[in-house]
Protein backbone atom coordinates (compact mmCIF):
# COMPACT_ATOMS: atom_id res chain seq x y z
CA UNK A 1 0.00 0.00 0.00
CA UNK A 2 1.41 3.35 -0.98
CA UNK A 3 0.86 6.31 1.32
CA UNK A 4 -0.43 9.45 -0.34
CA UNK A 5 0.65 12.85 0.91
CA UNK A 6 -2.58 14.71 1.52
CA UNK A 7 -1.96 18.38 1.07
CA UNK A 8 -3.97 21.31 2.33
CA UNK A 9 -5.67 21.47 -1.02
CA UNK A 10 -7.70 18.29 -0.63
CA UNK A 11 -11.46 18.99 -0.66
CA UNK A 12 -14.26 16.58 0.05
CA UNK A 13 -16.38 15.84 -2.97
CA UNK A 14 -15.51 16.10 -6.66
CA UNK A 15 -13.28 18.96 -7.70
CA UNK A 16 -12.98 20.51 -11.14
CA UNK A 17 -11.81 18.17 -13.90
CA UNK A 18 -8.07 17.79 -14.36
CA UNK A 19 -7.02 19.22 -17.70
CA UNK A 20 -4.09 17.94 -19.73
CA UNK A 21 -1.67 20.85 -19.51
CA UNK A 22 -0.54 19.98 -23.00
CA UNK A 23 -3.07 20.63 -25.75
CA UNK A 24 -3.72 17.01 -26.76
CA UNK A 25 -4.43 16.65 -30.47
CA UNK A 26 -6.25 13.88 -32.29
CA UNK A 27 -5.40 10.60 -30.61
CA UNK A 28 -3.19 12.40 -28.11
CA UNK A 29 -1.38 9.88 -26.00
CA UNK A 30 -1.06 10.02 -22.26
CA UNK A 31 2.68 10.23 -22.29
CA UNK A 32 4.33 10.91 -18.98
CA UNK A 33 6.91 9.27 -16.82
CA UNK A 34 7.81 12.89 -16.38
CA UNK A 35 10.65 13.07 -13.96
CA UNK A 36 11.14 16.54 -12.79
CA UNK A 37 12.81 15.12 -9.74
CA UNK A 38 14.27 18.37 -8.57
CA UNK A 39 11.02 19.84 -7.20
CA UNK A 40 10.96 19.83 -3.47
CA UNK A 41 8.49 22.66 -3.15
CA UNK A 42 6.12 20.90 -0.74
CA UNK A 43 2.97 22.09 -2.38
CA UNK A 44 4.07 25.65 -2.71
CA UNK A 45 5.24 25.42 -6.29
CA UNK A 46 4.75 28.24 -8.77
CA UNK A 47 1.06 28.78 -9.47
CA UNK A 48 0.78 27.80 -13.13
CA UNK A 49 -1.90 29.81 -14.92
CA UNK A 50 -4.06 28.21 -17.54
CA UNK A 51 -4.76 30.28 -20.65
CA UNK A 52 -8.22 31.36 -21.71
CA UNK A 53 -7.90 29.26 -24.86
CA UNK A 54 -7.31 26.11 -22.83
CA UNK A 55 -10.18 26.93 -20.47
CA UNK A 56 -12.49 27.46 -23.42
CA UNK A 57 -11.25 24.22 -24.99
CA UNK A 58 -11.99 22.38 -21.74
CA UNK A 59 -15.47 23.80 -21.53
CA UNK A 60 -16.11 22.48 -25.03
CA UNK A 61 -14.66 19.05 -24.39
CA UNK A 62 -16.13 18.27 -21.04
CA UNK A 63 -19.15 20.57 -21.10
CA UNK A 64 -18.21 21.97 -17.72
CA UNK A 65 -18.76 25.59 -16.79
CA UNK A 66 -16.06 27.29 -14.80
CA UNK A 67 -18.68 29.90 -14.07
CA UNK A 68 -16.53 32.58 -12.41
CA UNK A 69 -13.00 33.51 -11.38
CA UNK A 70 -13.34 31.48 -8.19
CA UNK A 71 -13.92 28.33 -10.25
CA UNK A 72 -10.81 29.04 -12.31
CA UNK A 73 -8.84 29.75 -9.14
CA UNK A 74 -9.90 26.40 -7.73
CA UNK A 75 -8.68 24.80 -10.95
CA UNK A 76 -5.27 26.45 -10.59
CA UNK A 77 -4.98 25.30 -7.02
CA UNK A 78 -5.93 21.76 -7.99
CA UNK A 79 -3.17 21.76 -10.59
CA UNK A 80 -0.71 23.05 -8.06
CA UNK A 81 -1.72 20.32 -5.64
CA UNK A 82 -1.29 17.64 -8.27
CA UNK A 83 2.07 19.05 -9.36
CA UNK A 84 3.47 17.78 -6.07
CA UNK A 85 3.73 14.43 -7.81
CA UNK A 86 6.69 15.81 -9.74
CA UNK A 87 8.69 15.92 -6.53
CA UNK A 88 8.99 12.16 -6.58
CA UNK A 89 11.99 10.80 -8.44
CA UNK A 90 10.59 8.22 -10.83
CA UNK A 91 13.79 7.47 -12.76
CA UNK A 92 13.69 3.88 -13.99
CA UNK A 93 10.25 3.20 -12.53
CA UNK A 94 7.44 2.01 -14.83
CA UNK A 95 4.40 4.26 -14.56
CA UNK A 96 1.46 2.70 -12.78
CA UNK A 97 -1.85 3.38 -14.43
CA UNK A 98 -4.10 1.15 -12.39
CA UNK A 99 -4.12 -0.12 -8.83
CA UNK A 100 -5.66 -3.24 -10.36
CA UNK A 101 -2.45 -4.12 -12.17
CA UNK A 102 -1.86 -7.25 -10.13
CA UNK A 103 -5.43 -8.42 -10.23
CA UNK A 104 -6.66 -11.08 -12.61
CA UNK A 105 -8.96 -9.88 -15.35
CA UNK A 106 -12.00 -12.08 -15.00
CA UNK A 107 -13.14 -13.72 -18.27
CA UNK A 108 -16.84 -14.34 -18.73
CA UNK A 109 -18.29 -17.27 -20.70
CA UNK A 110 -20.01 -16.24 -23.95
CA UNK A 111 -23.59 -16.82 -22.75
CA UNK A 112 -26.63 -14.57 -23.17
CA UNK A 113 -27.69 -13.61 -19.66
CA UNK A 114 -29.06 -10.09 -19.96
CA UNK A 115 -31.22 -7.84 -22.10
CA UNK A 116 -34.92 -7.99 -22.91
CA UNK A 117 -35.76 -5.13 -20.58
CA UNK A 118 -36.85 -2.49 -23.10
CA UNK A 119 -39.70 -1.23 -20.95
CA UNK A 120 -37.52 -0.74 -17.91
CA UNK A 121 -34.84 1.07 -19.86
CA UNK A 122 -37.31 3.45 -21.49
CA UNK A 123 -39.06 4.25 -18.21
CA UNK A 124 -36.75 7.14 -17.44
CA UNK A 125 -36.63 8.52 -20.96
CA UNK A 126 -38.36 11.87 -21.20
CA UNK A 127 -39.18 11.30 -24.82
CA UNK A 128 -39.53 8.07 -26.76
CA UNK A 129 -40.82 7.09 -30.16
CA UNK A 130 -41.84 3.44 -30.66
CA UNK A 131 -39.23 2.10 -28.24
CA UNK A 132 -36.45 4.32 -29.55
CA UNK A 133 -34.75 6.90 -27.34
CA UNK A 134 -35.15 10.40 -28.73
CA UNK A 135 -32.18 12.75 -28.95
CA UNK A 136 -31.55 16.10 -30.59
CA UNK A 137 -30.31 15.92 -34.18
CA UNK A 138 -26.52 15.45 -33.92
CA UNK A 139 -24.30 17.29 -31.50
CA UNK A 140 -25.13 20.86 -30.70
CA UNK A 141 -21.69 22.39 -30.22
CA UNK A 142 -21.12 24.95 -27.54
CA UNK A 143 -21.17 28.37 -29.24
CA UNK A 144 -17.78 30.01 -29.79
CA UNK A 145 -16.24 32.06 -27.00
CA UNK A 146 -17.27 35.37 -28.61
CA UNK A 147 -20.86 34.26 -28.83
CA UNK A 148 -21.29 32.98 -25.31
CA UNK A 149 -22.12 34.79 -22.16
CA UNK A 150 -19.25 33.64 -20.05
CA UNK A 151 -16.92 35.46 -17.75
CA UNK A 152 -14.04 33.93 -19.71
CA UNK A 153 -14.63 36.59 -22.33
CA UNK A 154 -13.41 39.28 -20.05
CA UNK A 155 -10.19 37.48 -19.14
Amino acid sequence: MRALLLGRWLRAGPGPPRPESRNGGNGGHRGNGGHRGNGGNGGHGPLRKVSVEVLDHLEHLALVDFRDSEGVERLHKAIQFADQLHEVNTDGVEPMDSVLEDRCLYLREDDVTEGNCTKELLENAREKVEEYFVAPPGNIPLPKLEERETFLQGS
Binding site: R108, E109, T113, N116, T118, L122, P137
Partner: protein, 463 residues
Protein backbone atom coordinates in the same frame (compact mmCIF):
# COMPACT_ATOMS: atom_id res chain seq x y z
CA UNK B 1 3.94 16.98 -65.55
CA UNK B 2 5.33 15.14 -62.51
CA UNK B 3 3.59 11.84 -61.73
CA UNK B 4 1.39 11.51 -58.66
CA UNK B 5 1.82 8.67 -56.15
CA UNK B 6 -1.45 7.87 -54.38
CA UNK B 7 -1.21 6.44 -50.85
CA UNK B 8 -4.06 4.44 -49.32
CA UNK B 9 -4.37 3.14 -45.76
CA UNK B 10 -7.37 1.38 -44.25
CA UNK B 11 -9.09 1.18 -40.85
CA UNK B 12 -11.37 -1.81 -40.74
CA UNK B 13 -13.90 -2.60 -38.02
CA UNK B 14 -15.03 -6.22 -37.94
CA UNK B 15 -17.89 -7.19 -35.65
CA UNK B 16 -16.91 -10.21 -33.59
CA UNK B 17 -19.08 -13.26 -34.10
CA UNK B 18 -20.18 -14.09 -30.54
CA UNK B 19 -23.40 -14.81 -28.67
CA UNK B 20 -23.06 -11.93 -26.25
CA UNK B 21 -21.40 -8.54 -26.18
CA UNK B 22 -17.82 -7.57 -25.35
CA UNK B 23 -18.41 -6.42 -21.79
CA UNK B 24 -21.96 -7.56 -21.00
CA UNK B 25 -24.27 -10.55 -21.34
CA UNK B 26 -26.84 -9.09 -23.72
CA UNK B 27 -27.33 -10.82 -27.05
CA UNK B 28 -25.61 -9.98 -30.32
CA UNK B 29 -28.14 -10.13 -33.14
CA UNK B 30 -28.88 -8.21 -36.30
CA UNK B 31 -32.39 -6.78 -36.71
CA UNK B 32 -34.18 -7.17 -33.38
CA UNK B 33 -36.85 -4.91 -31.85
CA UNK B 34 -35.21 -1.62 -30.83
CA UNK B 35 -33.53 -1.58 -27.42
CA UNK B 36 -34.46 -5.21 -26.71
CA UNK B 37 -30.85 -6.47 -26.67
CA UNK B 38 -29.61 -3.92 -24.15
CA UNK B 39 -28.37 -4.54 -20.64
CA UNK B 40 -28.05 -1.92 -17.89
CA UNK B 41 -24.32 -1.71 -18.62
CA UNK B 42 -24.93 -1.12 -22.35
CA UNK B 43 -27.31 1.71 -21.44
CA UNK B 44 -24.58 3.07 -19.18
CA UNK B 45 -26.73 3.15 -16.08
CA UNK B 46 -24.78 4.11 -12.97
CA UNK B 47 -23.28 1.30 -10.92
CA UNK B 48 -22.64 -1.08 -13.80
CA UNK B 49 -19.21 -2.48 -14.65
CA UNK B 50 -17.62 -4.10 -17.72
CA UNK B 51 -16.95 -7.86 -17.64
CA UNK B 52 -14.79 -9.14 -20.49
CA UNK B 53 -16.16 -11.87 -22.78
CA UNK B 54 -13.64 -14.70 -23.25
CA UNK B 55 -14.87 -15.58 -26.74
CA UNK B 56 -14.10 -12.05 -27.97
CA UNK B 57 -10.52 -12.32 -26.78
CA UNK B 58 -10.11 -15.68 -28.51
CA UNK B 59 -11.52 -14.22 -31.74
CA UNK B 60 -8.98 -11.40 -31.63
CA UNK B 61 -6.09 -13.80 -30.92
CA UNK B 62 -7.14 -16.07 -33.82
CA UNK B 63 -7.33 -13.11 -36.15
CA UNK B 64 -3.97 -11.78 -34.98
CA UNK B 65 -2.33 -15.17 -35.54
CA UNK B 66 -3.91 -15.54 -38.99
CA UNK B 67 -2.50 -12.13 -39.93
CA UNK B 68 1.00 -13.05 -38.73
CA UNK B 69 0.90 -10.57 -35.85
CA UNK B 70 2.79 -10.63 -32.57
CA UNK B 71 0.26 -11.22 -29.85
CA UNK B 72 0.84 -8.95 -26.86
CA UNK B 73 0.76 -11.15 -23.79
CA UNK B 74 -0.19 -8.06 -21.81
CA UNK B 75 -2.60 -5.57 -23.37
CA UNK B 76 -4.53 -2.72 -21.81
CA UNK B 77 -7.96 -1.11 -22.09
CA UNK B 78 -8.54 2.64 -22.38
CA UNK B 79 -11.40 5.10 -22.57
CA UNK B 80 -11.85 7.27 -25.64
CA UNK B 81 -14.15 10.19 -24.80
CA UNK B 82 -16.55 11.97 -27.11
CA UNK B 83 -20.20 13.00 -26.93
CA UNK B 84 -22.78 11.39 -29.19
CA UNK B 85 -26.35 10.23 -28.61
CA UNK B 86 -25.57 6.60 -29.45
CA UNK B 87 -22.65 6.46 -26.99
CA UNK B 88 -24.48 6.64 -23.67
CA UNK B 89 -21.37 6.43 -21.49
CA UNK B 90 -19.73 9.38 -23.25
CA UNK B 91 -16.70 7.20 -23.92
CA UNK B 92 -15.82 4.04 -25.81
CA UNK B 93 -13.69 1.32 -24.18
CA UNK B 94 -10.88 0.55 -26.63
CA UNK B 95 -7.20 -0.42 -26.65
CA UNK B 96 -5.24 2.67 -27.55
CA UNK B 97 -1.93 2.26 -25.69
CA UNK B 98 -1.19 -1.46 -25.95
CA UNK B 99 -3.51 -3.39 -28.27
CA UNK B 100 -3.84 -7.17 -28.31
CA UNK B 101 -1.90 -7.76 -31.56
CA UNK B 102 0.68 -5.77 -33.58
CA UNK B 103 2.97 -5.91 -36.60
CA UNK B 104 1.38 -8.42 -38.92
CA UNK B 105 0.96 -8.69 -42.67
CA UNK B 106 -1.69 -9.75 -45.15
CA UNK B 107 -1.00 -11.17 -48.61
CA UNK B 108 -3.54 -10.67 -51.35
CA UNK B 109 -3.64 -11.19 -55.11
CA UNK B 110 -4.65 -9.05 -58.03
CA UNK B 111 -5.35 -9.89 -61.65
CA UNK B 112 -3.00 -8.00 -63.91
CA UNK B 113 -5.35 -8.13 -66.84
CA UNK B 114 -9.10 -8.35 -67.18
CA UNK B 115 -8.95 -11.90 -68.54
CA UNK B 116 -7.95 -13.19 -65.09
CA UNK B 117 -5.02 -15.01 -66.61
CA UNK B 118 -2.19 -13.47 -64.65
CA UNK B 119 -2.15 -12.85 -60.93
CA UNK B 120 0.32 -10.90 -58.86
CA UNK B 121 0.74 -11.17 -55.08
CA UNK B 122 1.05 -8.12 -52.87
CA UNK B 123 1.33 -7.61 -49.13
CA UNK B 124 0.06 -4.95 -46.80
CA UNK B 125 1.41 -4.48 -43.28
CA UNK B 126 -1.00 -4.76 -40.39
CA UNK B 127 -0.16 -2.11 -37.82
CA UNK B 128 -2.35 -3.50 -35.05
CA UNK B 129 -5.55 -5.21 -34.04
CA UNK B 130 -7.45 -3.87 -31.04
CA UNK B 131 -10.58 -4.88 -29.17
CA UNK B 132 -13.21 -2.20 -28.75
CA UNK B 133 -16.92 -1.56 -28.21
CA UNK B 134 -19.37 -0.77 -30.99
CA UNK B 135 -21.73 2.18 -30.54
CA UNK B 136 -25.50 2.15 -30.83
CA UNK B 137 -27.36 3.18 -33.98
CA UNK B 138 -28.71 6.62 -34.71
CA UNK B 139 -31.62 7.10 -37.08
CA UNK B 140 -31.77 10.69 -38.21
CA UNK B 141 -35.24 12.14 -38.60
CA UNK B 142 -34.64 15.42 -40.34
CA UNK B 143 -38.33 16.28 -40.73
CA UNK B 144 -38.90 16.32 -37.00
CA UNK B 145 -35.36 17.48 -36.24
CA UNK B 146 -34.57 14.61 -33.94
CA UNK B 147 -32.47 11.46 -33.73
CA UNK B 148 -33.87 8.09 -32.74
CA UNK B 149 -31.41 5.94 -30.83
CA UNK B 150 -31.32 2.13 -30.73
CA UNK B 151 -28.71 0.69 -28.36
CA UNK B 152 -28.94 -2.93 -29.55
CA UNK B 153 -25.55 -2.59 -31.18
CA UNK B 154 -23.99 -0.65 -28.30
CA UNK B 155 -21.29 -2.73 -26.67
CA UNK B 156 -20.98 -5.39 -29.38
CA UNK B 157 -17.36 -6.51 -29.67
CA UNK B 158 -15.29 -5.15 -32.56
CA UNK B 159 -11.82 -5.94 -33.83
CA UNK B 160 -10.27 -2.85 -35.36
CA UNK B 161 -7.67 -3.88 -37.95
CA UNK B 162 -5.36 -1.05 -38.98
CA UNK B 163 -3.60 -1.49 -42.34
CA UNK B 164 -0.54 0.64 -43.07
CA UNK B 165 -0.69 2.90 -46.13
CA UNK B 166 0.97 0.33 -48.40
CA UNK B 167 -1.73 0.38 -51.05
CA UNK B 168 -1.94 2.69 -54.02
CA UNK B 169 -5.40 2.43 -55.53
CA UNK B 170 -8.99 1.26 -55.10
CA UNK B 171 -8.34 -2.11 -56.70
CA UNK B 172 -5.57 -2.99 -54.23
CA UNK B 173 -7.65 -1.90 -51.26
CA UNK B 174 -10.64 -3.90 -52.48
CA UNK B 175 -8.53 -7.03 -52.99
CA UNK B 176 -6.95 -6.67 -49.54
CA UNK B 177 -10.33 -6.25 -47.86
CA UNK B 178 -11.78 -9.18 -49.80
CA UNK B 179 -8.96 -11.43 -48.60
CA UNK B 180 -9.37 -10.21 -45.02
CA UNK B 181 -13.09 -10.93 -45.29
CA UNK B 182 -12.40 -14.50 -46.46
CA UNK B 183 -9.90 -15.03 -43.64
CA UNK B 184 -12.33 -13.77 -41.00
CA UNK B 185 -15.10 -15.98 -42.38
CA UNK B 186 -12.80 -19.01 -42.47
CA UNK B 187 -11.72 -18.40 -38.86
CA UNK B 188 -15.30 -17.72 -37.81
CA UNK B 189 -14.10 -14.74 -35.77
CA UNK B 190 -16.41 -12.48 -37.77
CA UNK B 191 -19.05 -13.16 -40.40
CA UNK B 192 -17.78 -9.98 -42.05
CA UNK B 193 -20.88 -9.27 -44.13
CA UNK B 194 -20.54 -5.63 -45.19
CA UNK B 195 -24.20 -5.23 -46.01
CA UNK B 196 -25.11 -6.02 -42.40
CA UNK B 197 -22.53 -3.68 -40.97
CA UNK B 198 -20.35 -6.54 -39.71
CA UNK B 199 -17.42 -5.20 -41.69
CA UNK B 200 -16.91 -1.42 -41.96
CA UNK B 201 -14.03 0.14 -43.82
CA UNK B 202 -12.68 3.69 -43.64
CA UNK B 203 -10.02 4.70 -46.15
CA UNK B 204 -7.22 7.24 -45.62
CA UNK B 205 -6.17 8.74 -48.95
CA UNK B 206 -3.41 11.16 -49.95
CA UNK B 207 -1.26 11.90 -53.00
CA UNK B 208 2.29 13.20 -53.40
CA UNK B 209 5.07 13.46 -55.96
CA UNK B 210 7.77 10.78 -55.81
CA UNK B 211 10.59 11.81 -53.54
CA UNK B 212 8.48 14.39 -51.73
CA UNK B 213 6.87 13.96 -48.31
CA UNK B 214 3.38 12.45 -48.05
CA UNK B 215 0.50 14.80 -48.83
CA UNK B 216 -2.35 15.82 -46.54
CA UNK B 217 -4.72 12.89 -46.13
CA UNK B 218 -8.48 12.73 -46.03
CA UNK B 219 -10.56 10.07 -44.37
CA UNK B 220 -13.37 8.54 -46.42
CA UNK B 221 -16.30 6.94 -44.59
CA UNK B 222 -19.75 5.55 -45.31
CA UNK B 223 -18.60 2.83 -47.72
CA UNK B 224 -21.08 -0.05 -47.87
CA UNK B 225 -19.54 -2.59 -50.22
CA UNK B 226 -16.19 -3.69 -51.58
CA UNK B 227 -17.15 -2.39 -54.99
CA UNK B 228 -17.91 1.05 -53.57
CA UNK B 229 -14.65 0.95 -51.61
CA UNK B 230 -12.67 0.82 -54.85
CA UNK B 231 -14.83 3.51 -56.42
CA UNK B 232 -14.63 5.84 -53.44
CA UNK B 233 -10.85 5.57 -53.20
CA UNK B 234 -10.28 6.08 -56.91
CA UNK B 235 -12.64 9.06 -56.94
CA UNK B 236 -10.88 10.64 -53.97
CA UNK B 237 -7.44 10.12 -55.54
CA UNK B 238 -8.65 11.84 -58.73
CA UNK B 239 -10.30 14.64 -56.79
CA UNK B 240 -7.11 15.35 -54.84
CA UNK B 241 -4.93 15.30 -57.97
CA UNK B 242 -7.27 17.69 -59.78
CA UNK B 243 -7.47 19.98 -56.78
CA UNK B 244 -3.69 20.15 -56.43
CA UNK B 245 -3.06 20.56 -60.15
CA UNK B 246 -5.44 23.51 -60.12
CA UNK B 247 -3.35 25.13 -57.41
CA UNK B 248 -5.71 24.22 -54.56
CA UNK B 249 -4.98 22.53 -51.25
CA UNK B 250 -6.26 19.41 -49.57
CA UNK B 251 -7.92 19.80 -46.17
CA UNK B 252 -7.32 17.18 -43.48
CA UNK B 253 -10.99 16.35 -43.27
CA UNK B 254 -13.47 13.49 -43.13
CA UNK B 255 -15.49 12.90 -46.26
CA UNK B 256 -18.47 10.63 -46.88
CA UNK B 257 -18.87 8.55 -50.02
CA UNK B 258 -22.14 9.20 -51.84
CA UNK B 259 -22.83 5.97 -53.72
CA UNK B 260 -25.59 7.49 -55.85
CA UNK B 261 -23.41 10.29 -57.16
CA UNK B 262 -20.22 8.24 -57.07
CA UNK B 263 -18.27 10.96 -55.30
CA UNK B 264 -17.01 11.99 -51.86
CA UNK B 265 -18.49 14.95 -50.01
CA UNK B 266 -17.25 16.70 -46.86
CA UNK B 267 -18.97 15.51 -43.69
CA UNK B 268 -20.45 17.94 -41.20
CA UNK B 269 -17.70 19.77 -39.37
CA UNK B 270 -17.39 18.14 -35.95
CA UNK B 271 -16.45 21.24 -34.00
CA UNK B 272 -12.85 21.25 -35.11
CA UNK B 273 -10.20 18.76 -34.11
CA UNK B 274 -11.31 16.09 -31.72
CA UNK B 275 -9.51 15.57 -28.46
CA UNK B 276 -10.47 12.16 -27.15
CA UNK B 277 -8.75 12.55 -23.76
CA UNK B 278 -7.62 8.94 -23.63
CA UNK B 279 -7.25 7.52 -20.15
CA UNK B 280 -6.71 3.99 -18.80
CA UNK B 281 -9.99 2.14 -18.17
CA UNK B 282 -9.96 2.10 -14.38
CA UNK B 283 -12.35 -0.86 -14.05
CA UNK B 284 -10.30 -3.38 -16.03
CA UNK B 285 -6.92 -4.83 -15.06
CA UNK B 286 -4.45 -5.65 -17.86
CA UNK B 287 -5.42 -8.55 -20.14
CA UNK B 288 -2.86 -11.30 -19.72
CA UNK B 289 -2.52 -14.08 -22.29
CA UNK B 290 -0.38 -17.18 -21.92
CA UNK B 291 1.42 -19.70 -24.07
CA UNK B 292 2.44 -23.26 -23.25
CA UNK B 293 5.67 -22.08 -21.63
CA UNK B 294 4.16 -19.44 -19.40
CA UNK B 295 0.98 -21.35 -18.51
CA UNK B 296 0.37 -20.98 -14.77
CA UNK B 297 0.00 -24.27 -12.96
CA UNK B 298 -2.82 -23.63 -10.57
CA UNK B 299 -5.21 -21.45 -12.47
CA UNK B 300 -8.77 -22.37 -13.39
CA UNK B 301 -8.42 -23.25 -17.08
CA UNK B 302 -11.58 -21.30 -17.92
CA UNK B 303 -9.71 -18.17 -16.87
CA UNK B 304 -6.68 -18.89 -19.02
CA UNK B 305 -6.22 -18.18 -22.71
CA UNK B 306 -3.35 -20.14 -24.28
CA UNK B 307 -2.11 -18.61 -27.52
CA UNK B 308 -0.36 -21.84 -28.61
CA UNK B 309 -3.53 -23.86 -28.05
CA UNK B 310 -5.42 -21.46 -30.31
CA UNK B 311 -2.64 -21.52 -32.92
CA UNK B 312 -2.75 -25.32 -33.15
CA UNK B 313 -6.45 -25.23 -33.84
CA UNK B 314 -6.48 -22.60 -36.60
CA UNK B 315 -8.24 -23.89 -39.71
CA UNK B 316 -6.60 -23.78 -43.16
CA UNK B 317 -6.52 -20.17 -44.31
CA UNK B 318 -7.76 -19.30 -47.83
CA UNK B 319 -4.21 -19.09 -49.21
CA UNK B 320 -3.48 -22.61 -47.94
CA UNK B 321 -6.80 -23.93 -49.24
CA UNK B 322 -6.06 -22.52 -52.70
CA UNK B 323 -2.64 -24.11 -52.79
CA UNK B 324 -4.09 -27.47 -51.80
CA UNK B 325 -6.74 -27.25 -54.52
CA UNK B 326 -4.13 -26.47 -57.16
CA UNK B 327 -1.87 -29.30 -56.00
CA UNK B 328 -4.59 -31.90 -55.58
CA UNK B 329 -6.60 -31.23 -58.73
CA UNK B 330 -4.10 -29.65 -61.10
CA UNK B 331 -6.23 -26.59 -61.67
CA UNK B 332 -4.82 -23.11 -62.31
CA UNK B 333 -4.20 -20.66 -59.43
CA UNK B 334 -6.76 -18.27 -60.97
CA UNK B 335 -9.34 -21.05 -60.77
CA UNK B 336 -8.63 -21.61 -57.10
CA UNK B 337 -9.32 -17.92 -56.48
CA UNK B 338 -12.70 -18.08 -58.16
CA UNK B 339 -13.55 -21.29 -56.30
CA UNK B 340 -12.90 -19.68 -52.93
CA UNK B 341 -14.49 -16.41 -53.90
CA UNK B 342 -17.97 -17.93 -54.10
CA UNK B 343 -19.37 -19.32 -50.89
CA UNK B 344 -19.68 -23.10 -51.25
CA UNK B 345 -18.25 -23.36 -54.76
CA UNK B 346 -15.05 -25.16 -53.77
CA UNK B 347 -17.06 -27.79 -51.88
CA UNK B 348 -19.41 -28.17 -54.84
CA UNK B 349 -16.44 -28.67 -57.18
CA UNK B 350 -14.88 -31.31 -54.93
CA UNK B 351 -18.20 -33.09 -54.61
CA UNK B 352 -18.59 -33.28 -58.40
CA UNK B 353 -15.02 -34.52 -58.82
CA UNK B 354 -15.74 -37.34 -56.39
CA UNK B 355 -18.83 -38.38 -58.26
CA UNK B 356 -17.46 -38.43 -61.78
CA UNK B 357 -14.63 -40.07 -63.69
CA UNK B 358 -14.05 -36.89 -65.63
CA UNK B 359 -10.69 -35.29 -64.87
CA UNK B 360 -10.80 -32.34 -62.44
CA UNK B 361 -9.14 -30.15 -65.06
CA UNK B 362 -12.18 -30.69 -67.28
CA UNK B 363 -14.71 -30.51 -64.47
CA UNK B 364 -13.44 -27.07 -63.49
CA UNK B 365 -14.52 -25.72 -66.88
CA UNK B 366 -18.10 -26.82 -66.22
CA UNK B 367 -18.04 -25.34 -62.74
CA UNK B 368 -16.56 -21.96 -63.65
CA UNK B 369 -18.09 -21.46 -67.10
CA UNK B 370 -21.43 -23.19 -67.04
CA UNK B 371 -22.57 -23.45 -63.44
CA UNK B 372 -21.18 -20.15 -62.25
CA UNK B 373 -22.50 -18.13 -65.17
CA UNK B 374 -25.98 -19.59 -64.69
CA UNK B 375 -25.84 -18.75 -60.98
CA UNK B 376 -24.74 -15.19 -61.71
CA UNK B 377 -27.38 -14.69 -64.36
CA UNK B 378 -30.10 -15.68 -61.93
CA UNK B 379 -28.47 -14.05 -58.90
CA UNK B 380 -28.33 -17.30 -56.98
CA UNK B 381 -25.83 -18.57 -54.45
CA UNK B 382 -24.25 -22.00 -54.78
CA UNK B 383 -26.52 -23.26 -52.02
CA UNK B 384 -29.56 -22.17 -54.03
CA UNK B 385 -28.43 -23.96 -57.20
CA UNK B 386 -31.23 -26.02 -58.77
CA UNK B 387 -28.53 -28.31 -60.13
CA UNK B 388 -26.93 -30.30 -57.32
CA UNK B 389 -23.39 -31.63 -57.42
CA UNK B 390 -24.86 -35.12 -57.77
CA UNK B 391 -26.85 -34.23 -60.87
CA UNK B 392 -23.90 -32.46 -62.45
CA UNK B 393 -21.65 -35.41 -61.61
CA UNK B 394 -24.06 -37.80 -63.33
CA UNK B 395 -24.26 -35.55 -66.38
CA UNK B 396 -20.50 -35.34 -66.69
CA UNK B 397 -20.29 -39.12 -66.44
CA UNK B 398 -22.57 -39.46 -69.46
CA UNK B 399 -20.32 -37.07 -71.33
CA UNK B 400 -17.16 -38.84 -70.22
CA UNK B 401 -18.48 -42.22 -71.30
CA UNK B 402 -19.31 -40.66 -74.65
CA UNK B 403 -22.98 -41.48 -74.32
CA UNK B 404 -23.74 -37.90 -75.31
CA UNK B 405 -21.90 -35.17 -77.18
CA UNK B 406 -20.72 -32.02 -75.47
CA UNK B 407 -23.36 -29.99 -77.29
CA UNK B 408 -26.01 -32.38 -76.01
CA UNK B 409 -24.53 -32.10 -72.53
CA UNK B 410 -25.04 -28.33 -72.57
CA UNK B 411 -28.64 -28.90 -73.59
CA UNK B 412 -29.18 -31.34 -70.75
CA UNK B 413 -27.61 -28.84 -68.36
CA UNK B 414 -30.01 -26.15 -69.48
CA UNK B 415 -32.87 -28.58 -68.91
CA UNK B 416 -31.57 -29.55 -65.45
CA UNK B 417 -31.48 -25.89 -64.58
CA UNK B 418 -35.26 -25.78 -64.73
CA UNK B 419 -35.16 -27.83 -61.55
CA UNK B 420 -38.04 -30.14 -62.51
CA UNK B 421 -36.47 -33.06 -60.70
CA UNK B 422 -35.47 -35.08 -63.77
CA UNK B 423 -32.15 -36.90 -63.85
CA UNK B 424 -29.71 -36.35 -66.73
CA UNK B 425 -30.42 -39.87 -68.04
CA UNK B 426 -34.15 -39.16 -68.13
CA UNK B 427 -33.63 -35.94 -70.05
CA UNK B 428 -31.33 -37.66 -72.54
CA UNK B 429 -33.97 -40.32 -73.20
CA UNK B 430 -36.79 -37.78 -73.44
CA UNK B 431 -35.02 -35.55 -75.91
CA UNK B 432 -33.31 -38.40 -77.70
CA UNK B 433 -29.92 -36.85 -77.20
CA UNK B 434 -28.07 -40.13 -76.79
CA UNK B 435 -25.19 -40.90 -79.10
CA UNK B 436 -25.71 -44.14 -80.86
CA UNK B 437 -23.26 -46.71 -79.66
CA UNK B 438 -24.51 -49.73 -81.58
CA UNK B 439 -22.23 -50.28 -84.62
CA UNK B 440 -24.82 -52.28 -86.59
CA UNK B 441 -27.50 -49.64 -86.10
CA UNK B 442 -25.08 -46.93 -87.31
CA UNK B 443 -24.27 -48.96 -90.40
CA UNK B 444 -27.94 -49.41 -91.17
CA UNK B 445 -28.58 -45.67 -90.92
CA UNK B 446 -25.60 -44.82 -93.09
CA UNK B 447 -26.64 -47.39 -95.66
CA UNK B 448 -30.17 -45.98 -95.67
CA UNK B 449 -28.83 -42.50 -96.30
CA UNK B 450 -26.61 -43.68 -99.11
CA UNK B 451 -29.45 -45.69 -100.63
CA UNK B 452 -31.69 -42.65 -100.53
CA UNK B 453 -29.23 -40.43 -102.38
CA UNK B 454 -28.29 -42.61 -105.36
CA UNK B 455 -27.48 -39.75 -107.69
CA UNK B 456 -25.17 -38.00 -105.29
CA UNK B 457 -23.37 -41.24 -104.58
CA UNK B 458 -22.70 -41.85 -108.29
CA UNK B 459 -21.44 -38.28 -108.70
CA UNK B 460 -19.10 -38.77 -105.77
CA UNK B 461 -17.73 -42.02 -107.05
CA UNK B 462 -17.03 -40.49 -110.45
CA UNK B 463 -14.88 -37.87 -108.72
Amino acid sequence: LAPWVPVVGLEIHAQISSNSKLFSGSQVQFAAPPNSLVSFFDASLPGTLPVLNRRCVEAAVMTGLALNCSINKKSLFDRKHYFYADLPAGYQITQQRVPIAVNGCLSYSLCIDSKMSQMVTKTVRIKQIQLEQDSGKSLHDDTRSQTLVDLNRAGVGLMEVVMEPDMCCGEEAAAAVRELQLILQTLGSSQAVMAEGQLRVDANVSVHHPGEPYGVRTEVKNINSIRFLAKAIDYEIQRQIEELENGGTILNETRAFDSKLGCTVPMRDKEGKQDYRFMPEPNLPPLILYDTKSLPANMNHQQVINIDWIHERLPDLPSVKRKKLVEKYGILPEHSFTLLNEDGLAEFFESVVKRTQMKPKKVIGWILNDLLSYLKQHSLTVKESPVSSFLLGDLLNLLEKKEISSTAAKQVFAELWKGEGKTPLEIVKEQKLGLLQDQKELEQICQAVIDGQENEVIMMMLG
